[in-house]
Symmetry: D3
Subunit: 212 residues, 6 copies
Amino acid sequence: MRILIINPNTSVEMSKTIDSMAKKYASPGTEITTVNPQDGPEFLANAYDEALQVPKVMHLVEKNKGNYDCFIIACGADPGLEACRLITKNVIGIGEAAIMTACAVAKRVSFLSTTKETAAAVPGRLRYLGIDPSRCASIRYVGASDEIVKKRNEMLEAYCQVGRKCIEDGASALIPTCAGMSDLKEYLEKRLKVPVIAGVVSAIKIAEQLPT
Amino acid sequence: MRILIINPNTSVEMSKTIDSMAKKYASPGTEITTVNPQDGPEFLANAYDEALQVPKVMHLVEKNKGNYDCFIIACGADPGLEACRLITKNVIGIGEAAIMTACAVAKRVSFLSTTKETAAAVPGRLRYLGIDPSRCASIRYVGASDEIVKKRNEMLEAYCQVGRKCIEDGASALIPTCAGMSDLKEYLEKRLKVPVIAGVVSAIKIAEQLPT
Amino acid sequence: MRILIINPNTSVEMSKTIDSMAKKYASPGTEITTVNPQDGPEFLANAYDEALQVPKVMHLVEKNKGNYDCFIIACGADPGLEACRLITKNVIGIGEAAIMTACAVAKRVSFLSTTKETAAAVPGRLRYLGIDPSRCASIRYVGASDEIVKKRNEMLEAYCQVGRKCIEDGASALIPTCAGMSDLKEYLEKRLKVPVIAGVVSAIKIAEQLPT
Amino acid sequence: MRILIINPNTSVEMSKTIDSMAKKYASPGTEITTVNPQDGPEFLANAYDEALQVPKVMHLVEKNKGNYDCFIIACGADPGLEACRLITKNVIGIGEAAIMTACAVAKRVSFLSTTKETAAAVPGRLRYLGIDPSRCASIRYVGASDEIVKKRNEMLEAYCQVGRKCIEDGASALIPTCAGMSDLKEYLEKRLKVPVIAGVVSAIKIAEQLPT
Amino acid sequence: MRILIINPNTSVEMSKTIDSMAKKYASPGTEITTVNPQDGPEFLANAYDEALQVPKVMHLVEKNKGNYDCFIIACGADPGLEACRLITKNVIGIGEAAIMTACAVAKRVSFLSTTKETAAAVPGRLRYLGIDPSRCASIRYVGASDEIVKKRNEMLEAYCQVGRKCIEDGASALIPTCAGMSDLKEYLEKRLKVPVIAGVVSAIKIAEQLPT
Amino acid sequence: MRILIINPNTSVEMSKTIDSMAKKYASPGTEITTVNPQDGPEFLANAYDEALQVPKVMHLVEKNKGNYDCFIIACGADPGLEACRLITKNVIGIGEAAIMTACAVAKRVSFLSTTKETAAAVPGRLRYLGIDPSRCASIRYVGASDEIVKKRNEMLEAYCQVGRKCIEDGASALIPTCAGMSDLKEYLEKRLKVPVIAGVVSAIKIAEQLPT
């Protein structure tokens, strides 16, 4: 199966992280390519940034639709997912993938959003997906948009601290929503002793179940 | 209050219809201007078309944000609503406006969508808005995308017929979702004897309640 | 359009406030008359008071049904709404009108009820209307029943304080449920910088969209 | 325990039926008295009739509150329930009692309402009570208001026929909502082979669990 | 009516408490027998213990199905309820019975679970039953599994204290979920002044309404 | 990762099918062993059969808990899932896994249950999981319990026919709930042109994301 991962953020660094996490968890028969739009914000901090990138994500799906069996949109807000599903049949959003996977391993899950704005969008997203709010232990955010990209290492401790609060809130699985933080999965799991669901990984695993 | 209505469809004809309906129902103190993006589909037939127009809608809000007190996005799917609300404070979507208004006048409402694709998006939209599905009597679609724009008059009878089916489904108010059909409101009300909620009108009425 | 507003409270003072707020926001073609039952409590403090006034509200609708195009019940609990809708076709409750309007302008809304009892009734009311509880940031009450009527000016500061707490709770629009406080709308909006949805105004705006 | 059953309908015949059903299922220590208001409709056919009787029900509770340990409102729509609960502590509605009891014995239940109007009120009632619509197999109505009171015996066969349809709809328990038909319970159970939950009986059984 | 109460816990002491509570509230025509499995945990502290006892509960239903008109499973988690309903027609779980009864007497109810694990299972149980979470004021647990059985008297004060917190949470009825604590009903009602719904009693009252 | 798949059915044939499907989709680093209890029904046709097997499933988890990193319960009803999660940390049910995975690839999904009884259990299961019923297009059953095991090949055409009806119902992904039919996945996908989600495969893919 040939998968094209589209990172709607323009950070090449982030695309590399995503690509290497995806390849690490993929089956041998899965070929992964990761791209990102040329222009737009390095880091999507809210619905404004996400909306701007949607046509660029759509364009990347259209341009490549003959060459891949499945497309993954690598941003927790799943920008352009419904639109892309009208272009080609197999399109997965890492946001949906992570939420659904987490709900299959834990009674209650928590979200570690990046910014206050993306955290505020989660309840509407859960309603849209038809997930009862009582499955969600808490929605917390870790930092500001700049910090996620620029002070990546300093953020590790923040993720641990917020993760611990989420466990106190009753979560038995955590979702760091940002694709760019997906490589934190194993680090956080070791520190926090609960499954940390990285949407990039979940999306690959779901993609590998789809007919080509 | 100065209101800018943004019709995400590029049909100038449709913008005129919207503009005249909005002005007909507006209060004397309300100044209305209606614009549409220069390029893109004449008629938004599905989530693909809608997503393409979102950055153009956002651009129109940004360009005009000092000059208006409120912005109305005139498409039943409310494309770009959340993104635009991050640009300026008073932004209303005619989709949300119509649904909420209809729920304030009827126990159960029906949707007269334009196309099969836009009809299929309604359940997710209701969930997102947190409206219980039992408030909705039915979701029916009236025709194909071309017909709405090109065979406008031939569509009138189709709207009546589908409207009658919705009333049999248990609806006591109807929502024709397309902004371009908002001028059908009074015609359909005379024929069908139930309130027909035109989102353009509802949005104006809600805008007039907002602080400037 | 001729609208009869029925204030189920017997306070003539309150009816005057309602009448002047309604007229201020109505379109030129809208004629507004406001009445209240002759006997019963000055201020409806709970479900007991409301129930007592229902037949009197119904009587006023029946007596006037040939002379008006629409009836508005001016109490946040919408006493007698379903019963009156069986008498004549166009009946709007300010409670429903405010909730639905607020949900069209804000992700999450808060209620500023008057008394503890009316606050406790809000969750059941939201369920009845089919509005998901996650749309509601908080339900707070401002004072005791006597205070609302007798110490009207002293209550202004209390409304501001409680409103500020609601904004901290996550609300981006506020609903002061009492019709008698509807003239606080603009004062509170200036102080709190969020839309304050007055059901009396919302109901007028919805009425103006109905077929006569 | 001394229980006052208040039949909001004015039919003395109906009050006798209710009284004898209640006594048949009550424990020896339970003393039952059944009354009805002097004036108002013989049979409550819709929300209009119900609302008219509410203050009379309230008056009967107030007048008798020192003399009884519990009050039961004997109409499936539970008119005045919340108001009466503000007068005295133990008040049960047969509508709530029947729905909750049926949900404790069956996966899915059906309602046999009397009239089209009372049937149309059931979905809102379920939402108000916080009962998920998927617990309800169907809501059907058996006849017109006059028939229920005047052609009582002719209605038996109609109840059986509608009951059979409900079982085909997937119900494994039935609720005939009208208090006046509560004596059908055993007849219908023999014919239809599923539990038939009579609210009058359910309310007595719940009352007997309350502290006096 | 002949009822067999099956206490899934193996504590004979607990079975005696259940039996005497059931007999105290039963009608004269109701014959009650209470049994428990011979082996297994004295006290079911979580889903593990419950699951172990299910086949034993099923066996007791099968062995006795000709000799009783109704079976009651006397554990708040209702272990084996759906399975037993496939063996014979009248089977009631005290968990379901208590929740439904409490919802018929109070706007909001609280659960006094025994252990942290059983408390954590309540939200899923409410969802399964289709009861909206907003009907639930709080879910609190009183102690550890050993304490419930061995330090029964010392637990009384703990129940009062936790019950008081639940009332502060907004509950107007309480459900002590453990069948073995059902005899606390009257003691707690005197102390706390709200209805305390004992599932064993509720189940008997519902059983007495079923066709034999 | 070492995974033990426990097939609660006792059919060795079925265990082989499950084992080979699981191995086909597993990553190279995943070691899979599949076992089934020695005694009990060959095919679990309803909640009765499922409940009987629960302690045997629990026993298999307990016996093997040191030797495996994750356990998968291979029956669509997830018998014993909550109980086993109290024994060891990584336990996945194929029912939950399939539902969640399907919801990540399709707006609306349908269930192809084996028997009428297992189909009837799906709505309660969805409620328990907190999945809104509007995500489900339909729940249909394919045959009788005997047929599934004994006339396996004759069932293929039945699955296709029922699958086609589900697609007409609006499903864009299908879930054949029975673990024993998981090898139909690819056959049905070719015939029906929609993703067919096999819980065994979904569970393996989720397991591979868990910390060991």
